[in-house]
C-alpha cells in the first residue's frame, strides 16, 4: 500500500477538545442570546453590517446567472417587440405630459392658496432611484434587498415606491445594500386615507401571508365600498401624503365582530418589483416632538418617607 493512502497522523486519543455536548450547549446558548439581542433589543446591526460586507462578493457572484439570463433574453428579443414597446411608452408619455402640465399649474395654484391661508407648504421629499436585487430568502417575511445603502444616502425608515404606489419601507441600512419590508408583510403597517370619504385608517399586511393588505379596526358600519382607493394620509411623518397605496377588493361584515374585515389589493407591484424610488421620510425636517413631561406625584401631607 503506497504512502498517503491513509491519514499520516493518527486521530488523537486524549486531546479531543470539548465534548460535542458541551459545544452544543455553548453554541446553542450563544445563538439564543444573539437572537434575543436581535429581536428584542436590535443590538446586532454592526455585526450584521460587517458580515454583510464580508458576504457581498458572494452575493455579487450569485446575481450573475440571473443577469446573464436576462442579457441573453434581451439579445434575442425581436426588433418588433422593442418598437412596439417604444410606441407604447411614447403614448404613455404623451398622456402623462398633458397631466404633468396640469399638475404644474395646480401646484402653483395650490401654493398660492396655501400662502393665502398661511398653511404649511407641502414639500416634495428628495428621492433616490434604486433597484431591487433580490427577494430576501426568509419565507416567513416579505422583504427585498435594494442595491443602494448607507454609502448612497439611504436613510432608515424611508418609504419605497414604484410608479404605481407605495411598495414598502426601508427597515435596515447596511453600508452597500439596504433592506426594505414590503407593505404586504404581516408586521408592517401603513396609515391610509380613503380617497372617496376621507376616513383615516391603518392598513396591515394580510395575516395569513397572501399578498394583500388588511384595513383593520374599521367599524362594521363604516362607509367603505369595494374599489375605494386608499392613499397615504401622511399623519405618521414618514410617508408623503396622497400617494396611492391600495384598492379595496373585498369587505366581509360578520355579526359576531365589531369590525369589518376589509381586504385590499396593493397598487404598487409588491411582488416582482424591480425599479423603485426611495423617498426620504417627510418627518425629517419637521421640528421634534416635545418629550412627554414627567408628572410629579404630590407627596401626601401626612406621609413621611
Amino acid at each position: 500500500m503506497p504512502l498517503g493512502t491513509l491519514d499520516r497522523t493518527p486521530p488523537p486519543f486524549f486531546k479531543q477538545g470539548a465534548t460535542p455536548l458541551h459545544k452544543l450547549i455553548f453554541f446553542a446558548t450563544l445563538s439564543i442570546l444573539l437572537m434575543f439581542c436581535d429581536v428584542r433589543w436590535q443590538l446586532t446591526l454592526p455585526l450584521r453590517s460587517a458580515l454583510s460586507l464580508l458576504l457581498s462578493p458572494a452575493q455579487w457572484l450569485s446575481r450573475q446567472p440571473q443577469q446573464l439570463s436576462t442579457g441573453v433574453v434581451n439579445f434575442f428579443e425581436e426588433r418588433e417587440t422593442a418598437q412596439n414597446r417604444e410606441q407604447q411608452s411614447q403614448a404613455a408619455l404623451l398622456a402623462q405630459s398633458l397631466h404633468a402640465a396640469q399638475v404644474d399649474q395646480l401646484l402653483l395654484e395650490n401654493r398660492q392658496l396655501r400662502d393665502l391661508l398661511e398653511l404649511k407648504q407641502r414639500a416634495t421629499p428628495p428621492s433616490l432611484a434604486a433597484q431591487v436585487i433580490y427577494d430576501a430568502a426568509d419565507p416567513f417575511t416579505r422583504r427585498v434587498i435594494l442595491d443602494k445603502g448607507g454609502v448612497n444616502g439611504v436613510i432608515l425608515s424611508s418609504p419605497v415606491m414604484d410608479e404605481q404606489g407605495i411598495v414598502g419601507q426601508v427597515t435596515r441600512v447596511y453600508p452597500l445594500v439596504s433592506e426594505a419590508t414590503l407593505i404586504i408583510d404581516k408586521d408592517n403597517s401603513i396609515p391610509v386615507l380613503n380617497n372617496r370619504t376621507g376616513a383615516r385608517g391603518v392598513a396591515f399586511g394580510e395575516s395569513s401571508g397572501a399578498p394583500l393588505l388588511e384595513l383593520r379596526y374599521m367599524a362594521a358600519n363604516a362607509d367603505i365600498q369595494e374599489n375605494d382607493i386608499l392613499s397615504t394620509s401622511g399623519v405618521d411623518g414618514v410617508y408623503p401624503p396622497g400617494v396611492p397605496v391600495a384598492k379595496v377588493i373585498k369587505i366581509e361584515r360578520t355579526a359576531d365582530s365589531m369590525f369589518a374585515r376589509i381586504l385590499c389589493q396593493p397598487l404598487g407591484r409588491a411582488q416582482g418589483v424591480r425599479q423603485v424610488l426611495v423617498l426620504n421620510p417627510v418627518g425629517l425636517d419637521e421640528p421634534k416632538r416635545p418629550e412627554p413631561e414627567v408628572v410629579k406625584v404630590p407627596v401626601k401631607a401626612g406621609a413621611k418617607p
Partner: protein
C-alpha cells in the same frame, strides 16, 4: 481504521477542499435564492446538507463551531433573525457527531433515510423558533425541503467523496 467490507480505501480529505465545498454550498444557496426560486419555502438548503456530510465524514475537521459560524452567514444573507440558522446548524452538527460512527456502515440510500430525521429536526427548530417569536406558518410547501435534501444525499456523497476516491499512485494510464 475499521471499515465496512468491500468499501474502497479513501485518501485523506483535503481541508482546503472541505472549506471550498462549504463556501460553494453557501453561494449555491444564494444563487438558488437570488436568481432562481426567490423565497419559496421548499428550497433545499445545500449548506445544511454539505455541513451534515462533512460533520459525519470528518468530525475531527468540521465541528460544531463551524456550523455556528456558517449559520450566522446564512442568517445575514437570508435576513432572518440572527442566530436562527446558527442554532439549527449547531443542533444538526451535534446529532451528526452522535451518529457518525454508526451511519457509515450503511449503504448510501439507507444513509439518506437515516439523515432525514436530522434534516426534519433542523427545519422544525427553525419553524418553532419563528412561530414562538410571532411569525405565521408558511404553509405545507415547507415540508418538502427536508425530503428534497435527503434525496440529494447520494449525489452529494458522490461529488464530495470524488477527490478522496482518486488513485493513491496516479500513473499515465490512470491520471486521476
Amino acid at each position: 481504521m475499521i471499515m465496512p467490507r468491500g468499501q474502497q480505501l479513501l485518501l485523506p480529505a483535503n481541508p482546503f477542499f472541505i472549506a471550498v465545498s462549504l463556501l460553494l454550498a453557501l453561494v449555491l444557496n444564494m444563487i438558488e435564492n437570488v436568481s432562481i426560486l426567490g423565497n419559496a419555502a421548499w428550497r433545499p438548503d445545500f449548506l445544511a446538507l454539505v455541513l451534515l456530510f462533512w460533520s459525519i465524514h470528518q468530525p475531527q475537521k468540521i465541528s460544531i463551531g463551524w456550523a455556528f459560524m456558517l449559520g450566522l452567514a446564512a442568517d445575514v444573507h437570508e435576513v432572518s433573525f440572527l442566530g436562527q440558522h446558527a442554532l439549527a446548524y449547531t443542533v444538526l452538527a451535534f446529532f451528526a457527531t452522535l451518529i457518525h460512527r454508526r451511519l457509515l456502515w450503511f449503504s448510501v440510500p439507507s444513509q439518506a433515510l437515516q439523515v432525514l430525521p436530522l434534516l426534519i429536526a433542523s427545519h422544525a427548530i427553525t419553524m418553532v423558533l419563528r412561530m414562538s417569536l410571532g411569525s405565521s406558518l408558511v404553509g405545507w410547501p415547507m415540508l418538502f425541503a427536508p425530503f428534497l435534501e435527503a434525496m440529494l444525499w447520494p449525489l452529494v456523497s458522490v461529488i464530495l467523496l470524488a477527490p478522496q476516491r482518486r488513485a493513491p499512485d496516479p500513473d499515465e494510464n490512470r491520471p486521476l
